[in-house]
Every structure is written in C-alpha cells, then in structure tokens.
C-alpha cells in the first residue's frame, strides 16, 4: 500500500499486560501507604501517649482543674 511497512502492533495479551502492571503497582502503593501510616501516625501516637502517661499525676491534674473552677460537685 504505502511506502514503508509498519511494525506489527501488539495483538494479544493486552489485558494481561495491563493487569500485571496495575496489580504490581497496587501492591506496592498499598504497602507503601500502610508502612507510611504505621510510622508516621500509629507509632507517633503510641509514643505521645506513652510520654504523656509516664509521669502523669492524676491527683495533681484534678487539683488544677478544681482550682480553675470547672467542677460543680467539688469546689
């Protein structure tokens, strides 16, 4: 027909190729997101709570709140 012969395009396995690419990608992305969440959010939060309660004196806290006058039953 025309001057130069074109290369024959990929005829088969198009869905399989796309699926493979996307499945691998989906795995990688979800693992990455989960790892990020674990370290940036979950571990941070656990540390924050541990630090808060390490030297927490609940009676002192109560006295401070009582002095601020928020309780109705303890003035």
């Amino acid at each position: 027909m025309t001057s130069s012969a074109l290369t024959k395009p990929q005829m088969r396995g198009l869905l399989a190729k796309r699926l493979r690419f996307h499945i691998v990608g989906a795995f990688a992305v979800s693992l990455g997101v989960a790892a990020f969440y674990k370290f940036a959010v979950a571990e941070q939060r656990k540390k924050a709570y541990a630090d808060f309660y390490r030297n927490y004196d609940s009676m002192k806290d109560f006295e401070e709140m009582k002095k601020a006058g928020i309780f109705q039953s303890a003035k």
């Binding site: 808060f52 806290d61 401070e64 928020i70």
Partner: protein, 171 residues
C-alpha cells in the same frame, strides 16, 4: 466533545426526516444535506454509521463506486482515499483532534465563581441577621479558656498545645 455527541444523538433521532432533503444544485461535495443540520457526525464511539457521508454522487464518483465492486487490489491509493472520503466525514485523527474548548470552559467556571462570590458578599452585608452572642469574640475566648481548664485532649489535641506555666500557646 460531549456536546457534539449529544447533539449528534439528537440529530440521529430526527435523522429520517432530514435525510430525505436534497438541496438542488448542491456543490461537488454532494452530501445533499443542509449545513449545519447534517445527520452525520464522526464519533469515536460510533465508528461505522449506517449511511455514508456523501449520498449524492456525481458521475465520476459513481464510476468509482462501480470499480469498488471489483477487486480492491486494482484501486490506486488516491482512489482508496477518495472512497474513504465518500464514506466517512472525518478520519479518526481528524475527529479526535484537540481543541481550545477547555480554556472557554475554565474561563466560564472562574467567572461564575467570581459572580457567586459577589452575590454572597452582598448577601452577607444586606441579608444576614446579627451574630448570636455565642459567636462574639468575648464569649469564644471564655469558651476556649473553659476547655483548656478541663484539659480537653491533653495528649495530642488542644490542651497539649497550651503551656500551662507560661499561660500561652506552645511554640
């Protein structure tokens, strides 16, 4: 692109009425339909329409159609292109060409954002009633002080950002 698709769908429904019309003395292009009401519109989702693009053929084109009934290997390249052009309005490359429509769309969107902003501003000045007492700054400050006294969310939230010794927000 969706407008064109919707428009051509509308036209296809009213198609049978319009296709019957033949404008007398039409150009050599010969599609026999009054522009812009052609019932033919190239669509990626409808690649093989029922009717060919040119229905009124002159003698030369009719001869070509006869030749098409024989072996296609005898058609020259120019003849094949001519037959394509008789059958179809636009090639896929032509129908899929990009346009500058998005600029118009974005412009109109932003324009209406701005118009809406002006309307809402007018509304705030002339329509809204007085703020309730609970939204005044004084009340809000007292409310915040009460929450801090109660030590709301002392681990990671509000009270954790307040420095109780210095009585100010932590840096």
């Amino acid at each position: 692109m969706f407008f064109r698709a919707a428009w051509s769908l509308v036209l296809r429904k009213t198609g049978p009425g319009i296709r019957g019309m033949h404008s007398p003395g039409s150009a050599a292009h010969g599609e026999g339909k009054m522009p812009p009401y052609t019932s033919y519109h190239a669509q990626r989702t409808y690649p093989m329409p029922d009717e060919p693009f040119c229905t009124e053929l002159n003698a030369e084109q009719r001869a070509l159609k006869e030749k098409e009934k024989g072996s296609w290997t005898q058609l020259s390249h120019a003849e094949k292109v001519a037959l394509y052009r008789l059958q179809f309005h636009e090639t896929f490359a032509e129908m899929n060409r990009r346009s500058n429509e998005w600029k118009t769309v974005m412009g109109c969107v932003f324009f209406f954002f701005g118009l809406t902003a002006l309307l809402i501003w007018w509304q705030r000045v002339y329509v809204f009633p007085e703020k309730p007492i609970t939204l005044t700054d004084e009340w809000k400050a007292q409310q915040l002080q009460r929450v801090l006294d109660m030590k709301g969310n002392p681990v990671q939230g509000l009270a954790s950002r307040w420095d109780y010794e210095k009585k100010e927000w932590k840096k």
